[in-house]
Amino acid sequence: MSVASRVGEDIILRRSTSIAGKRSVLTKFAWVVALCVVFVAVLAPLLAWHQPIVCKYQGTYDFPAVVDTVRQIPVLGSYLEKSKPFRFPTFDARKTLDPDSFAIWPPIPFGPIELMADANLSSSRAHWLGTDDRGRDVLARLIHGTRVSVRVGLYSMLLAGAIGIVVGAVAGFFGGMCDWVCSRFIEIVMCFPAFFLILAVMAWIGEGLTGVILVIGFTQWTSIARLVRAEVVRGREADFVMAARSYGASNTHILIRHLLPGALGPAVVAMTFGVADAILLEAGLSWVGVWRSVADAFVGLDAA
């Protein structure tokens, strides 16, 4: 199909090698920052939460914030339950816990959705970055907002990557009619006004992070698909594929073992840029008012 994608992929490949090739100070710094962000995202409840990490309550030791951290892991988390008083909505750990009893609180002892009753406080020792217009601790929201951003960025790009790689590989490898259909499909999605899809999906799936992730994932896969397709087309005629064919390797084998590894490089680079785009897109969505601002998605965590 269009020449455009072939050249585009060329450039991205070049860019990817130039980025990965140099382990400069800058690269190291970028790694550190990225790791910090992930660290904050994964351990958010241990850094800022409305319940302590460890405490002694009525004679037993409880680990509410730790349990909540684990509970955020998909699938695995649902097997774990918080101990009794701490999972009660009516239970206010800050008021109920004896001030003298043993308790280790997270460094920021506030949850992201806790209303503190005093809005727009400037920074103080209690609230390091102050409180926002609804009286919630800004730092706590920042920490949990990071979590949401990371989740949106990663999950939506994983989804986009999965769709893009499958569609691109199928199109490129089988060629002919199959390629024709897939390529048209890619073009159609590229031309489609994504904003409307976003509105539609939001209304069908309902509010929540899942909707945002699905929408971004389902609309942002096209460039990945084009890159993968171009790479597979190029590799299809390569000598090593010919060799594999000659000793009777199956199509699937050739595609998965010989062609895809080469095609993944540019796809991964495109996905990395996609993560940034996805996070900005999500912020844009909340700006437009299609869905509630970043960390409000957190309401889902303990209200649902």
């Binding site: 020449v3 455009a4 450039i11 070049r14 130039s18 031309c191 489609f192 409307f196």
Partner: protein, 325 residues
């Protein structure tokens, strides 16, 4: 060449039909309808069941979807895209009005960004690895990550409010219709500066690293070394041999950028009260103004496909090998 041209043109037809079909189905199946969108609703007026039924009939929503699609297609092939639900004006007229500011912005900003990016990238390519190179590259990444509405807000504050250099709302001054042609151009340019900068920023952030990488890879080619060996000056090598070859891939990127900028940015257009396409689409979606949405889909699809087509044809012209792929 002609066979290739014909093939490429024919290929856009199914895509075009697909986009229209998909858009039509999605907007009609999406929840909400023009009848519920313009209900003055919870205000103080009465909205009876009869009234609601009348609205549905007025918007011709009682027919099944395929009948509506057939009706719409029958009119659209005669280039009649219907009338806006909101105000009864012909869709073509509304879009014609709103596409002008968008075209001005798109081609203005892309042109400026391209020139700037090429100059800066050439400068960087010859200083590869030096601190200034790293600094600007990092700056580009940073610029890319800043949400455009923050840039917009800053620009409005600094140049609109504080320094009061440029107007920051709308497209024209009140006296526009009585101005001379030159004054008109100056007026339009003045109104476009701030919102234009918001578009130029991310474009630069995207283009500079791209062109720089492209230049660097060309610089490694044998013919460049040969040119140097011939004793040509660095400048002659750069402008005579390197740039033309390095800029070829830029065509592709242009094919991606034009539609993206063209689609406009709702956020920026709202912020600058800019009467462009992005705002029109956003408002039309909110009102479920189906004829306008369909009209805009067609326009944007035509632009995307046209740009891709032109880029591909230019490629085929510049590099005959691709025609036989």
């Amino acid at each position: 060449m002609w066979r290739y041209f014909l093939k490429r043109v024919l290929l856009t037809v199914p895509t075009f039909v697909g986009v229209i079909l998909l858009t039509f189905v999605v907007i009609h199946l999406a929840p909400g309808s023009p009848a519920t969108a313009d209900d003055a609703g919870l205000g103080d007026s009465g909205m009876s069941a009869v009234e609601h039924q009348r609205l549905r009939a007025h918007y011709q929503m009682d027919a099944p979807l395929h009948v509506q699609l057939a009706r719409w297609t029958a009119r659209a092939v005669r280039l009649d895209f219907g009338r806006s639900f909101a105000n009864g004006r012909p869709v073509s007229q509304i879009i014609a009005e709103r596409i002008k500011p968008t075209l001005l912005l798109t081609f203005g900003t892309i042109l400026i960004a391209l020139v700037l990016a090429i100059v800066i990238a050439s400068f960087l390519a010859t200083r590869c690895g030096r601190p200034i190179d790293k600094l600007i590259l990092t700056g580009c990444v940073g610029l890319y990550a800043v949400p455009p509405y923050i840039v917009g807000l800053l620009l409005i504050w600094i140049f609109g409010v504080w320094l009061n250099w440029f107007p920051f709302a709308g497209l024209t001054s009140d006296e526009f219709s009585s101005m001379t042609t030159w004054r008109k151009i100056a007026d339009l340019a003045g109104h476009s500066v701030l919102i234009g900068l918001c578009f130029v920023g991310p474009l630069l952030a995207y283009l500079i690293p791209f062109i720089r990488a492209s230049l660097l890879s060309v610089l490694k080619e044998d013919y460049v070394r040969a040119a140097h060996a011939k004793g040509l000056s660095t400048r002659r090598v750069m402008f005579g041999h390197v740039l033309p070859n390095a800029l070829l891939p830029l065509l592709t990127v242009l094919g991606l950028i034009v539609p993206a900028v063209m689609g406009g940015s709702v956020v920026l257009e709202v912020m600058f009260s800019w009467p462009g396409m992005g705002r029109l689409l956003y408002e039309s979606i909110g009102r479920r103004d189906y004829p306008v949405i369909m009209g805009m889909t067609i326009v944007s699809a035509v632009i995307v496909l046209l740009v891709t087509l032109v880029v591909d044809l230019l490629y085929a012209w510049a590099d005959p090998r691709v025609r036989y792929v």
